[in-house]
Amino acid sequence: MTSRTTAPSPRPMPDGAARRRARADSPFAAQAATTAAPRAGIVVAGLLLALACLAQIGVLPAWCLAALALAAATRALPRRLPRRFAAAVRLALLAAAVALAWHALDGASAAALRFVLAVVLALKWAELRASRELAPVLAGGLLLLAIGLLERQSLPGFALAVLGVVLAMAASAAPTQRRAKRLRAGMRLALAAARRPTLAALPLAALLFAFFPRVPGPLWDLGYTLGLPLSVFADRSEPGLGAASRLAPGRTRPAVAAGKDDAPVLVAEFAGYVPPTSQLYWRGPVFYDFDGGAWRLEADWSNRARLMGEGFRGARQFDAQVREKRQPIDYRVRVGANGAYWLYGLDLPAKLAAESYLTREFQLLSMTPLREESAYSMSAWLDYAAGAALAPALRARALAFPAGDLPRLAALGARLRRENADAPGAIVRAALAHLAQDGFRFADAAGAPGGADAYDRFWFDGRRGDAELYAGALALLLRAAGVPTRVVTGYRGGKLMALTDYVVVKRSHAHAWLEAWDDARGWSRVDPSDVVAPERFGGDAAKATKPSPPVQAVSAAAVPPAAPAPRARAAATAPVAAADNPWAAFAGRWIVHLDGWRQIELARRAGGAGTADWIVLLVLLGGGIALLALARGAWLRWQDWRRVPKPERAFRAACAALARHELARAPGECASRYAGRVAALWPEMAEPVRDAAAAWIDWRYGTRPDAGAVVRTSRILERACR
């Protein structure tokens, strides 16, 4: 009588994961099916990591790859070893890798960071057991692959990227494909699972690729246009070209401290039309006095009272100074805190901002030092000649020339003066022609000639220099030829953020040029850099977002020579694939080197819009995605419909035709009853509906189905209903 029919089984406890997830008050604890990652998934994830590591070849030396292989090989540690032992081994390997990266790969360099990321991923892969650990490894692997492909922007690189994504998908698909017992079958299933979604994803990916606005990075530049605070000039004692009060030939770098080149000086937003950045001159310190060793500002150069006394407080007062003005432009500027008074007005200021004044040298200065970021709206004449008269004292300063130190420049100046009959315009043109023809080259780090005859040696011996050397030397040469000159420093150009109206000016845009006086015209700009290295500032000439400038440029002596081809620089750094292969040329143009400008072209073709910016691109993108979704929905619907057998489709169509006459078949209503109901309510239909229902029933449930009869009778019924 006590025989136990239901033996009390040893009370099973849910495993850890399930117990954790069970709600405290729940009467049930579900037992999860296996959570172990399938081997196919692990192997495919390993393939992705291997691909990502191989993509680092060229950046990482060979021993790094060996170290990565060693890290991944810890997967082969016997599983019966205590877990802690394996973990300790991996931790030790990681520490060794970090130490190695630090010493052999130059500290926190890009290569070292890549190596450490790769080692972490390889070790994580080596200890991977559960399905849920797959995703982080795959995400990291894709990132590593992308970083490795940064230097391989070419069509084969694209193939590698697509392969990487497909591998990530296949590895992710493996846990949903457990029916395969063998590894190879599992991998085949996983890859097959990835194939169709990849094909289905391609149109959307292409759409995103074509129309996602390519606003040029880095991201913080983008941030500046959105109002990210501009950095403060950190080093006030060495502010660099564009802000310095002393200009030693060849010694003043655009940005003194290494790594500061990227610091922004100002961000300008243009209203409507963004001029070619080569025409943007942001005026800073202006130098008259060369003492043999360096150009210097007056001792009281920051004396506000004097500057304001000599300068202009109102636009009308200043307007009398402007002799020629063309190309008006409106803009709004945010200037970073530079600690001095520089507001860096665009040449030539056409009005004044609040709390500001214009000096005699047309500099836009703030009344108070800029200790924090400030913003103002301005307008400017891009093309100008200004200056009512040159006071004798100033003319003397603008003609001062240390003849004893620079005999060769003095002689050349005298010759130019002789040959050009004292005409300032002709002298300037001749001097520029000399620069253009006599093998001068532009060099950013030309080094310092040093000494009192630095400009002589630069002009006649070295012939290599940066903007500041050229400006100083040409200014002195023109003085020797009897043309009053002054050296202007500041910033030129800026980085035009594609698809927006913003220009970010950085310290690396620091520049020096000069202005020459002509009694007939006043001060006009002369920029020797345009003659020596025309490609340097031509970058964005034709890239303005708006189709045409409001006023056509009128050529004048002071206007820089014709801008070079817009993409000369881009083409030089990233040559498009061989042009003789049309497909490669197409891919190079529209895939590999698609950028904001080409997107605009694309948008114009797609939308026919006269103008294009990132909003137009986003609208196109959204519209494209909506169209794609509709098309896909229709396709799937059609597929579902197609899977239904033909007789069934025909009968359903006939029922739908009856439903239009308010004789819909009720859900669950059997076909013969339906036929009887229809026959009773619509006697003319009695015969066809009975025939169709009988044929359908026979086909559906009968022993000798006749599909043709169903189709035939259903069509007759459908036609009768019309």
Binding site: T6, S26, A30, A161, V165, A173
Partner: protein
């Protein structure tokens, strides 16, 4: 043709919404997309853009795919077997497709924990199950029962809520007391042994003397005469008061008795403080008894 529902049109059933959520793996992949986009914007690299967009498109696409695995499915819970507290219960549902599409990577989930997946549900109908551990006595409707699919990449999880059937979790059979003997009070309905009551169909084993031969002659049908006061089969009374210990121990003891008595094929009655069940035998009676034990007060 098994793919088609019998009547050719989908029966009207309350449309259950399909819940679609990215999984942890999906969020990792989204994080990868964001990281790739940051790299792409920062370096202005079209290759990385392409990688990011392909991954993003596949990510979005897989959401659609996951949802499609559950679209057009009709599900209903199957009545579960009763289970002892602490035992393992298999909750099962039946799913039926309204169309001819194959469904992939479906699994039944309870409170987010998924049972084993069915890789491919071919056209037609299928059942899905999940093993759950019954932790508490009672008659419960498991909450949060869903049919889920993570097809194709496990980045998204589409889930269809399933109304569950009540599950009887009876007390764990326990206790050392022997099964109570057949009751000395044999049949409650005993009156007089010879009073003819009625006829019933012959069953193998009936005494020949009881057979109504005249009826057989008339209708060629064997009938057995029954008399009131016939001694019923030995009935075991399983009483709350006979068990020992606290309430749960008594319930466990009663559960053991019920299962043992049922295994013997005996007739038994169950008497609980709140309820009593008349003597009977068979699977239905056993289920009723276990249900009464499961829902007996005081429940924890």
């Amino acid at each position: 043709m098994a793919s088609m529902p019998a009547d050719g049109t989908p029966a009207s059933s309350p449309r259950t919404r399909i819940r679609l959520r990215p999984t942890a793996a999906g969020l990792w992949m989204l994080a990868a997309v964001v990281a790739l986009l940051l790299v792409a914007v920062n370096y202005g690299n079209n290759l990385v853009y392409a990688t990011a967009f392909l991954l993003l498109a596949a990510w979005l696409q897989s959401a659609w795919s996951a949802r499609r695995q559950l679209q057009g499915l009709r599900v209903r819970a199957l009545p579960p077997r009763e289970v002892a507290c602490g035992g393992t219960l298999r909750i099962e549902i039946a799913a039926e497709a309204a169309d001819a599409r194959a469904r992939k990577a479906l699994s039944l989930a309870l409170e987010g924990v998924e049972g084993e997946a069915v890789d491919v549900m071919q056209v037609g109908a299928a059942t899905f199950g999940i093993d759950v551990l019954a932790l508490r006595r009672g008659v419960h409707r498991p909450a949060g029962l869903e049919l889920a699919s993570r097809w194709p990449f496990g980045w998204w999880r589409a889930a269809l809520a399933v109304a569950s059937a009540p599950c009887v979790v009876h007390p764990r059979p326990d206790g050392a007391l022997p099964l109570p003997d057949a009751s000395p009070v044999r049949a409650l309905r005993a009156e007089g042994a010879d009073a003819f009551a009625d006829l019933r169909a012959y069953r193998a084993g009936d005494a020949p003397a009881r057979i109504d031969w005249r009826a057989w002659a008339r209708r060629e049908e064997l009938l057995t005469r029954r008399f009131d006061g016939e001694r019923g089969a030995a009935t075991r009374r399983l009483c709350w008061d006979d068990a020992r210990g606290d309430a749960e121990a008594r319930l466990s003891q009663l559960a053991r008795w019920v299962l043992d008595a049922d295994a013997h094929g005996d007739e038994y009655a169950l008497e609980l403080p709140g309820a009593s069940l008349a003597p009977a035998r068979g699977a239905e009676h056993r289920a009723a008894c276990l249900r009464a034990l499961a829902s007996a007060e005081p429940a924890p």
